[in-house]
């Protein structure tokens, strides 16, 4: 058994590939997060609504996307969906749909949970001074709820970035895919995949630090002493 010679130099020559991959990862992640914010609010509001017409479909959507693996969702949108709609689907859009809808489902729950975590007393106090529903939400409930949701959203963002790696299987140019392609052409999987792992870590770790910081900051601010 010979000691393997690490040849990082060879690999770093191809930094452009990694850069291209990272860009692709960020592109995907950015669109997904935006979609999750908007979609999450809408679906979360529907889930929270007392109207069955809104509540039931929202609940079904959320349960569907949380109780199936995201990889299955991506694969389905890439292979099955195009056949149903009779159109070709580029991997990028399949990944967007799969991961995006998944993220929307989780975000909706975060949104709903945030609103529901606001104790009833706040609603009652706002009502008792004569506030209507819109004013209550805008001035009292949402400002407090959003603070609570931020750490959970930050976590979801991390999960979304990790999930983009799955898009490599459907030929989307993101970090892992570029790594794979490179490994197939110059065959140095050890160095290449080590670099890819490092890059993912460097990309995600700041987000985690942000999330820890936010969690601590928001926990201190809000406590009401009784």
């Amino acid at each position: 058994m010979s000691v393997h010679e690490w040849k990082f130099g060879v690999v770093l020559e191809y930094w452009r590939n990694f850069a291209r991959g990272l860009l692709g990862t960020f592109e995907l992640a950015a669109i997904i997060v935006l979609a999750a914010l908007v979609g999450g609010v809408l679906v979360g509001a529907a889930r929270y609504s007392k109207l069955r017409l809104l509540n039931w479909p929202a609940t079904a959507f959320i349960e569907l996307f949380r109780n199936t693996p995201v990889f299955v969702q991506i694969v389905w949108f890439y292979f099955a969906f195009p056949v149903i709609i009779g159109k070709q689907m580029h991997g990028f859009y399949a990944a967007l749909l799969g991961i995006g809808l998944n993220m929307i489902a989780y975000s909706a729950e975060i949104f709903r949970g945030g609103i529901q975590s606001i104790e009833r007393g706040q609603w009652e106090a706002a009502k008792s001074i004569g506030m209507g529903y819109a004013a209550m939400m805008r001035r009292i409930i949402l400002p407090q709820a959003i603070r609570r949701m931020v750490p959970a959203f930050a976590n979801r963002l991390i999960e979304a970035v990790k999930a983009t790696s799955l898009a490599s299987t459907i030929a989307v140019s993101e970090l892992l895919f570029e790594g794979e392609q490179l490994a197939n052409s110059i065959y140095r999987p050890l160095e290449i995949y080590t670099v890819v792992a490092m890059l993912y870590f460097l990309a995600i770790y700041p987000l985690a630090l942000l999330s820890y910081w936010l969690e601590r900051r928001l926990a201190i601010d809000e406590r009401v002493k009784l």
Binding site: M1, P69, V70
Partner: protein, 222 residues
Amino acid sequence: MKYEWDFGFVLKFQDVLWQGFLGTLKIGVLALAFGSLVGLFLALMRMSRRRALSLPATGLIEFLRMTPLMIQLFWIYFALPILIGLKLDAFAAAVIALSVQSGAFFAEVFRGGVQSIDRSQWEGGKALGMTMPQLMRRIILPQAIRRMIPPFMERSFELMKGTTQAATIAYGELLYQSMVLSSRLYRPVEILTCVALLYLVMLTMASLAIRYVEHRLEAARS
């Protein structure tokens, strides 16, 4: 153009899918078991007072949690063999990757459970003259384990969902079998939809079971 659905196909090949299901269970259960051990080990290291143990453990845990399972899987399947000179088959690689990643998350669950026990519990036991092992066994762990159960179940749930990624290194779990089948038979819609529904049913049941247990734990506490 309206697509013509034909689920008859799926029934004909249920054996293949069943094999896939077993494959999922195999790596899932093994990864759960090994992952728990890894998690326990890492948690103990992390909570140790010796920095030589706690710092590397923290570093490893954070690294494993902040990188995608996919890259860990690829690294273990393609890169590790080069390093240790041992060829790994897809099964081994999948189990190792899933165990290690889940282990990192489990470590945080274990640590969280123990650290969430109020200091007064430790002090109460010490004041009675208990030794550390007695304290852990009779006061701390029973309470801590109760608190660990819900997040542990959630993480196990995520682990089972993660088994699908083993398909990328051609391990014959359920998703892999369904993809092979659908490409061979040119009927991706029915097969993949069916498999998606299968996952949905199983995971929803698991989710309900988890919620039930959480509910019972809540009730018992109050």
